[in-house]
């Protein structure tokens, strides 16, 4: 099994891989090569060729993102910022934490490489507040990297200088939205900004800024060291590129986070995690965090990759899936997620602020046996207007599981109406608890 992101791992003492351990498995070779042999344009081209796409949820091609930042002639010479989004708050998602805990130098090297490619001057890591222990360890890793000349002035003796600072977030889901993250960074309310201007031209403190997810950045060292073709070939499918940290949670025998070639089928991943807990029947899976639509049990042979999941009406998202067994009510699961989205709304725009609690209330009617058949359509219409008409993607993400719920589980919703409540005993207990 090829492990790239996690090729160095925490030791028996529970501390993350040291810089020496990381270098022993080829760490920082990519940086050395890039600084010695590659111009920034060439590095960007390689990243473009590699097919790397953002691992934070939206899946935007990374090389293209890099190319939006003004460089060379177009750069005014002022500061440009690289932000690492480590505000991992998508429900069910715990992959960036694993990288932090196991192999922080992959992130550091990735950030230095990205900064080199985009000719950036300063880097910041915006970390979820719950990851305080991991952040302490990450700060130690930064010191190691500086001492080894991988970070700071004249990295590896080159003319390139770049340093990374850590920002511990106050913690809100909305901080995962890149412009809200930038506002939070500036000490403002974490409300998203309107685009344009895009962060690439006007981001943090009005300067060109790129925001990347932890895992995306950690993919870069391998690409820099081994080239675009190598990265593409890591994938399980011809159209994919790289490996992916897949996390599984919910009704699994052995929930965990593992690195596998991107495009590995959902069935294979579930099997690797010991199958459905207690030998129960699989009912459905949410493939990539709360803002991705359900996949019913009969579609789990789908490769876990961007295009394949979109083809069946879902999304890869963060690639960390939640498994529902025959005992778990998808309506209740959706209600739980909608409560999360309504609570995490920043309150800026009307559909998200006031529409999401409205949705929660409708779902509660189903779970509590007060719903009518007309409420299914009400739910459908409500989210059809919330999703596309909100200011940012938060409410659009909230609408996704509702779409999946109605598409795949309409009969189940109807059953909630006819049986005046949730047919799943376990959920009913939870609702009335």
């Amino acid at each position: 099994m090829t492990e790239v992101l996690l090729r160095a791992r925490a030791g028996t003492d529970g501390r993350p891989a040291s810089i020496d351990a990381y270098r022993a498995v080829g760490g920082y070779a990519g940086l050395a090569r890039a600084l010695k042999d590659l111009k920034s344009d060439e590095l960007i081209e390689i990243v473009k060729q590699s097919g790397l796409r953002g691992r934070g949820g939206a899946g935007f091609p990374s090389g293209m993102k890099w190319s939006f930042v003004p460089r060379g002639e177009k750069w005014d010479g002022g500061p440009k910022y690289l932000l690492c989004n480590a505000d991992e708050m998508e429900p069910g998602t715990f992959k960036d934490r694993v990288l932090f805990e196991q192999n922080p130098h992959a992130l550091i090297e990735g950030m230095v490489l990205a900064a080199y490619g985009m000719e950036m001057t300063e880097g910041f890591v915006f970390v979820r507040r719950e990851y305080f222990r991991q952040t302490d360890d990450f700060e130690k890793a930064l010191i190691e990297a500086r001492q080894a000349g991988m970070l700071g002035q004249n990295i590896l003796g080159s003319r390139f200088s770049f340093d990374i600072h850590v920002h511990r977030s106050g913690g809100r889901y909305i901080c995962g939205e890149e412009t809200a993250l930038i506002n939070a960074f500036e000490g403002k309310r974490a409300n998203p900004r309107s685009k344009p201007p895009f962060p690439a031209t006007k981001g943090l403190w009005g300067r060109p800024t790129t925001v990347h997810n932890v895992e995306t950045l950690a993919c870069v060292p391998g690409i820099a060291a081994n080239g675009a073709e190598w990265f593409k070939n890591l994938a399980a499918t011809p159209e994919g590129a790289g490996t992916k940290l897949y996390g599984g949670s919910g009704a699994l025998e052995a929930p965990k986070c593992i690195e596998r070639p991107i495009g590995t089928t959902l069935r294979a991943l579930i099997d690797e995690m010991g199958g459905v807990r207690g030998g129960k029947q699989l009912l459905a899976v949410i493939p990539g965090g709360a803002s991705t639509p359900f996949i019913p049990a009969d579609q789990i042979d789908v490769p876990m990759d961007y295009a394949a999941l979109e083809k069946i009406g879902s999304r890869l998202g963060t690639g960390t899936f939640i498994v529902f067994s025959e005992d778990d009510c998808p309506v209740h699961g959706t209600l739980n997620m909608q409560r999360f989205f309504a609570r995490e709304s920043c309150g800026f725009c009307t559909p998200c602020r006031d529409g999401l609690p409205y949705g929660v209330e409708i779902l509660e009617r189903f779970e509590q046996g007060r719903a009518t058949m007309a409420d299914i359509d009400l739910l459908d219409q409500l989210y059809a207007f919330i999703g596309p008409n909100s200011f940012c993607a938060l409410a659009g993400g909230a609408a996704e599981p509702i779409k999946g719920l109605i598409r795949h589980f309409r009969p189940l919703l109807e059953e909630h109406v006819t049986s005046k409540g949730c047919p799943f005993a376990r959920s009913r207990e939870a609702v009335h608890a």
Binding site: E344, F348, C349, T350, P351, P357, Y358, L378, F385
Partner: protein
């Protein structure tokens, strides 16, 4: 210039126009909550969603966030847009309370309008409405957060537009809260605009609470009488009471904004202490008889002692028509009567000098809209937010739009965060302005001079209270030199000054000379046999002049305020205040603006029936009380003295003014409610007046100045205004405070005239200066810049 189709109508709009404005141009009023033309677009409320067909694709977008592009076919009428508006209404009504019956916003509530328009009538969610705790925000504004629809307009106005720091937004999700860190009075001088900014009823006028439905108000266009900016307003009356004042839009003057002094300073109108009855020492109660008796007495004195034995005095709060009617009285037997158009001799001299400076500078007028449009703006000799609040708000917009603002003043407490402040002793303002003109000086002065010279659109605004004669002269010289240097390349140079009162410009333009000092000296010396004092007051007179009033054989007073003049007069005629009369004020930039009667004077229905229950119908004219417009009374007296054929109407008196003084002819075209007409100061051949230089000797010098709330003569009579203003505080420099151990209560002694008040050190105030609010009453008013001794007050010293 993109051409688009909006709701089927073709329009061409300037590039960069958003679709809300483009819709307006096509005749569609796109519903909005968060969008406001002065606050910009943020895309929060989502109610302005429209369908846009472009390149054979149709999409829904927010009109406020979308710029018109050539070939767009935009509609608000398709099912998608309609449905979206329905949803937004339903979402907002999830939490908005159904308290419309007791909400003061009812009838002018944008949310109410949209709820009606989208026919939202059935609540489909069972969510419990969220509730908030409201805050005490002072005497002017009521807070009702449950009504909030989270459009952010209040925060964007208060913080971004007006620069306030004590109000903002907290919380998240459906519990976003707009308020202060803790309950307390708003600190901003512009808080009243929240009433207008809020599309629903979160912020309502406390003085208007539960007084009337807005559609029952009798309204007329009027002009704010509380400073020389001349903001356009729309007061409303009901039950023969003035109920509230709102801003009326005039882009050249106040936009859609007002200051708190203007919005909440109207308590003097319904003040129970206001003298509202004709009062003759011989007991006459009939108006016609009283006018006959008074005219006869005046005529007798004039015949016996000559016209010069009569003094005629009015003030900067009287209308142009009143000024002219007073002047017109001085003919026939009264020819030679001595006239002053001012209530304060110092302010008379400085107003005349200001008008003369404007007339000779050759620059363009510096109107409010120009203040915001300058690329370099220099403000000198004033604490602008205290003297003319809306001018300060406009100056802030200048800075927000990228203009550079410099302030040369001993005190700047509003623009400090956006302007370069050059703290300057009032006696040194002249020197600084000279340095700007000659390009000498260093630091900020050099920067300001350099910026002015390089400006594309330079502006210079000179103050009133803290500007002496030499500073005015230096400012005028600076304006002239800018006109010389910029005029050849066609760059407009804008130059303005502040004036006292709402009609200081008009009073100065009407004046032949600065006469008040001489008149008061002769009054003290007993040289007058009669005086007619019209809507003026004696607060700035010497005690001896005030005493001399009692010895006058005939004192005729016309006014709507109580005071020593009204009390002493043998013949007192109650007059109609601004909101009760028709007339014209000329604002500080020479803009003549008309105002029309909002309410009839006299006792309110509630006073009459001694019952405050809600009355459905009432007669519009009162049974008792009553007043007339001052110019009408003067014209009636003229009929009985000079013997003119008849009492004129408003048009008649304006025609007569135009005939007597052609420079005033443009007034004949001014209608209340229009945008006004700008008069050319040069047309008036203003009288020259010499105003002395402030001294800067050893020791402390006292300077009287306005404060935003509490010092202006009309508004300070209202109770909530007094509460919000607090007690006056003398300001000194931190250096002087430390050196002289000042703080707490102090005694100020200016040559035997002493007052006691609180004293505070204020950063930025230069050494040697004591700034005292104008509303502090002195036994004898000290001259500006008089030497003053400051000591800890006795009680304080004993402690």
């Amino acid at each position: 210039m993109p051409e688009i189709v909006f709701d089927g109508k073709k329009v061409t709009v300037p590039a960069g126009t958003n679709l809300v404005e483009a819709g307006g141009a096509a005749g569609t009023s796109v519903p909005v909550f968060c969008y406001h033309k002065d606050l910009g677009a943020v895309g929060a409320c989502r109610v302005c969603a429209v369908s846009i067909k472009q390149n054979d694709k149709t999409r829904m977008a927010m009109a406020c966030m979308t710029e018109a592009q050539d070939g767009m076919d935009v509609t608000t009428l398709d099912p998608q847009s309609r449905q979206m508006r329905k949803w937004v209404t339903e979402w907002l009504m999830v939490n908005h309370p159904h308290d419309c019956p007791i909400c003061d916003e009812g009838g002018e509530c944008q949310l109410q309008d949209l709820t009606i328009a989208t026919e939202h009538s059935i609540r489909r969610t069972e969510l419990k409405k969220r509730t908030f705790e409201n805050q005490y925000l002072g005497e002017f504004i009521t807070h009702e957060m449950n009504r909030c629809i989270t459009c952010y307009r209040c925060q964007r106005f208060y913080q971004d537009y007006a620069g306030g720091r004590d109000f903002g937004v907290t919380g998240s999700r459906d519990r976003v809260y707009f308020g202060r860190f803790e309950p307390g009075a708003f600190e901003s001088a512009f808080s009243g605009n929240l009433v207008e900014m809020c599309p629903t009823g979160v912020f309502t006028d406390k003085l208007f609470r539960y007084k009337s439905r807005v559609w029952d108000l009798e309204i007329s266009p009027s002009i704010c009488p509380h400073c020389s900016v001349g903001c356009n307003i729309l007061p409303g009356a009901r039950h023969r009471m003035l109920q509230r004042v709102r801003a009326r839009e005039n882009e050249a003057v106040n936009g859609v904004f007002l200051c708190d002094r203007g919005q909440f300073g109207h308590g003097y109108i319904m003040d129970p202490a206001r003298p509202r009855d004709l009062r003759m020492s011989d007991g006459t109660t009939d108006w016609d008889a009283a006018l006959g008796v008074t005219g006869g007495a005046l005529l007798e004195i004039a015949r016996a002692h000559g016209g010069e034995s009569v003094a005629l005095i009015t003030s900067t709060r009287a209308s142009v028509e009143t000024h002219f009617a007073l002047e017109a009285l001085a003919s026939g037997a009264l020819a030679g009567a001595r006239i002053s158009h001012f209530e304060d001799a110092d302010r008379e001299a400085s107003a005349l000098a200001s008008l003369s400076a404007l007339a000779t500078a050759g620059a363009q007028p510096l109107e409010q809209s120009d203040l915001a449009g300058c690329d370099v703006l220099v403000i000198a000799g004033t604490s602008l937010v205290d003297e003319a609040p809306l001018a300060a708000l406009a100056a802030r917009q200048c800075a927000r739009r990228g203009g550079r603002v410099f302030v040369v003043s001993p005190l700047e407490r509003y623009l400090g965060d956006v302007a370069t402040v050059i703290p300057t002793h009032p006696a040194a303002v002249a020197g600084t302005l000279e340095a700007l003109a000659s390009g000498t000086g260093d630091g900020a002065v050099a920067a300001a001079g350099k910026a002015l010279m390089g400006a594309q659109k330079p502006g210079l605004l000179l103050g009133g209270d803290l500007l002496d004669g030499p500073a005015l002269a230096a400012g005028a010289a600076l304006a002239r030199s800018l006109v010389r240097s910029h005029g050849s390349s066609g760059k407009p140079v804008r130059f303005g000054t502040l004036f006292p009162g709402p009609n200081g410009f008009g009073a100065a333009a009407m004046s032949k000379d600065a006469a008040l000092a001489g008149i008061l000296a002769d009054l003290e010396a007993g040289k007058f046999k009669a005086a007619v004092v019209v809507e003026s007051d004696a607060a700035a007179w010497s005690p001896r002049a005030r005493q001399a009033l009692g010895n006058l054989p005939l004192l005729i007073v016309l006014d709507y305020l109580p005071g020593i003049l009204a009390d002493t007069a043998q013949c007192f005629f109650p007059t109609e205040a601004t909101y009760e009369s028709n007339g014209i004020y000329v604002n500080r930039a020479g803009r003549a603006q008309g105002f029309a009667q909002v309410r009839v004077p006299g006792r309110s229905v509630i006073e009459e029936i001694r019952d405050d229950s809600f009355r459905r119908s009432y007669q519009r004219t009162p049974n008792e009380g009553g007043a007339r417009m001052a110019w009408w009374i003067l014209d009636a007296l003229r009929k009985r003295t000079v013997g003119s054929p008849e009492v004129r109407d408003l048009a008649g008196i304006r025609d007569a003014l135009a005939a007597a003084r052609p420079a005033w002819a443009p007034l004949r075209a001014v209608l209340a409610g229009d945008e006004g007409t700008v008069l050319d100061p040069a047309a008036f051949q203003p009288a020259t007046a010499t105003t002395p230089a402030f001294e800067r000797g050893d020791g402390l010098r006292v300077f009287r100045m306005d404060r935003t709330l509490g010092s202006e003569v009309l508004s300070r009579r209202s109770e909530p205004m007094r509460k919000m203003a607090g007690t006056p505080v003398a300001l000194v420099s931190p250096g002087d405070a430390a050196r002289l151990k000042l703080g707490g209560r102090v005694s100020l002694d200016a040559g035997g005239s002493a007052v006691e008040l609180e004293c505070r050190a204020e950063a930025g105030v230069p050494d040697g200066v004591v700034l005292v609010p104008r509303d502090v009453e002195w036994p004898i008013l000290p001259k500006q810049g008089a030497s003053v001794r400051v000591t800890a007050a006795l009680a304080e010293a004993a402690r």
